[in-house]
């Protein structure tokens, strides 16, 4: 029983990464109708950002937690202005292919610079060691990741539902034309929202650096899992994507406990089930609004 509980906890921690990445992906999708294939690459850059700051500049991981997402957010905004923006009016397929190309380039650049070996990264001192959770003890860092991701997801949720900015963004997401007609400058929010989504991917990367292998291919496989997660949750729904992130993380961990051979496949099998029973996703609406 302790083993299973621990597995569930492990699952929630990996679910934290799924949730943060799915959140960024779905915010961008909602605002621009773009599925950002480079999301995994920016996650990878986030991890490398933390590594480079520590390794070359001696800056602590805590600082990286703020600096790296900010920098990547700006990079994301530049990317949106220079490239993504040109294709937004066309079929979403084109931006999917564009960002796929960008992902390949970024991944290969980092491989050429740092090789395929993983870069060493130790946990920040403050979060080293483990925490006694009553039934079992657990690494402090993992607990921090879980709490931090929940706080961030919650904050984004609050901003989207309780503030004026969030209202504008949601209105623009749901009915861009109508919002425009009501005098809301939708275009003004596109670039910042894209940058924000990228920053979230970078943040997930910084969080991943001390506990996952930092290498150029860390984002490539993960983004496909995230795609499955958002298909399960419903990409149009911010709430659905985040919830699906935690649920998928947990279910795969539990499945892993009973069927270790299937560990990596479970998320895709889950996706197949959702497609069979509820094609729009667990929290998604029928396609057509802004699919």
């Amino acid at each position: 029983m302790d083993g299973l509980l621990q597995q569930i906890f492990n699952g929630l921690v990996s679910g934290s990464f799924y949730a943060l990445l799915a959140l960024g992906l779905s915010v961008i999708f909602g605002m621009l109708g773009v599925v950002n294939f480079a999301h995994g690459a920016f996650y990878m850059l986030g991890a490398f950002g933390a590594f480079i700051l520590l390794d070359s500049f001696g800056l602590s991981w805590w600082l990286a937690l703020f600096v790296v997402p900010a920098v990547l957010g700006i990079v994301g905004m530049v990317l949106e202005r220079t490239l993504v923006h040109r294709l937004v009016a066309l079929d979403p397929l084109y931006n999917f292919l564009l960002t796929f190309g960008i992902a390949l380039i970024l991944q290969d650049l980092m491989r050429l610079r740092y090789g395929v070996q993983s870069q060493p990264f130790s946990r920040p001192e403050l979060l080293d060691g483990s925490l006694n959770l009553g039934l079992f003890s657990y690494p402090k860092y993992q607990v921090f990741v879980l709490l931090f991701s929940i706080v961030i997801s919650g904050l984004v949720w609050l901003v989207l539902t309780r503030t004026r900015v969030g209202m504008v963004v949601r209105a623009a997401t749901e009915r861009a034309d109508l919002s425009q007609a009501l005098g809301i400058n939708v275009g003004r929010w596109v670039t910042p929202v894209f940058g924000f989504g990228i920053a979230l991917a970078g943040l997930a990367g910084v969080l991943a650096a001390p506990m996952r292998a930092v290498n150029s291919s860390m984002g490539g496989d993960l983004i496909i899992v995230i795609f499955a997660v958002v298909v399960i949750g419903g990409l149009g729904s911010v709430f659905g994507s985040v919830t699906a992130g935690y649920v998928v993380g947990m279910l795969t961990a539990v499945g892993n406990f009973y069927l270790p051979a299937l560990s990596q496949s479970l998320v895709f099998i889950l996706m197949a089930l959702v497609l069979l029973l509820r094609p729009a996703g667990l929290f998604g609406r029928e396609e057509g609004v802004h699919a």
């Binding site: 397929l93 992902a103 290969d108 396609e287």
Partner: protein, 341 residues
Amino acid sequence: MITAKLLGARGEMSVVLRIALLVVGVLLALGLPWYIYPPVAMDIAAWALFAVALDLLLGYTGLLSFGHAAFWGSSAYATGIIAIETGLPFYVAVLGGSLVAALLALPIALLSVRRTGIYFAMVTLAFAQLIFFIANQWRDVTGGENGLQGIPRNLFGLDLSDSFYFYYAALPLILLGLFVAWRVVRSPFGRVLVAIRENPARARALGYPVDRYKVQVFVISAFLAGVAGGVYAVGHGFASLQEVYWTTSGKVVVMNILGGMGTLWGPLLGAGIIVLLEDYLATAGIDAIGIVTGSIFVLTVLLFRRGIWGSVAYLVNSRRAGPVPVTPAETKPRSQPTERV
């Protein structure tokens, strides 16, 4: 303009031009191993069929399958296993491998067509990753990371150890596959596919079972991708995890958009360019295939979305000022509330 004269009244290629192209194409295919290193020529032929197979979906039906490596790769493994275990002529092995790919495609297609547009791409990509993990996990059968080695080139006792001769032994399979693709596109079935691409709602309203058509063309496409993957595996003598990895799916997509999707000739051209480019980079010792492929993606999508073949056809047509053939998805604005490609 001579080329312009060769085009029919509605901007379609005239019979003369088409036959001329066909003759050039067949001659090129027959002569390829004479002026290109035969194993590379074999790669071009296999990838060309793979790219055309994807074009049935991407170009003609407007469905972006981002998981076609699943079918190319599963056939590569199945072909290899059949050839190793039974020693049958490799034609039989490739046929068996392609059937496995088609069988695998059926459930994937049935599930994937439940979503449209960009979701379809994500779902097919995810299913292909599932196949990748299964291949990775199922070491007894696939050899895991070592791959499946020692696939023989059996064909009625002929000595095909020289890649030059193997090319000619395998070419009929490739040409047959291309012919099937061409027949599909030119048939009433193919016309319905284009109708589905252009306006799925209208196609449905006209009484066509859209999803069934999508599943059918998906399975045909997977079968042809299987033929290509099987030939590739026999040609190389092994099948590896690379064959089912997502980069392989991306590679066949880039062949399509670079060459020009929805044109059949375009993907052939794209396959030739990409394979030669990769070969050049490998011999020149430039280890940056991701950067090159990625840049091709970015530049093609930004600058010439019709691809090479599509752009040439467009230029030729616009000189005649006739009605311009529409490339898939190009004309649909974002706010259009119907299903999209």
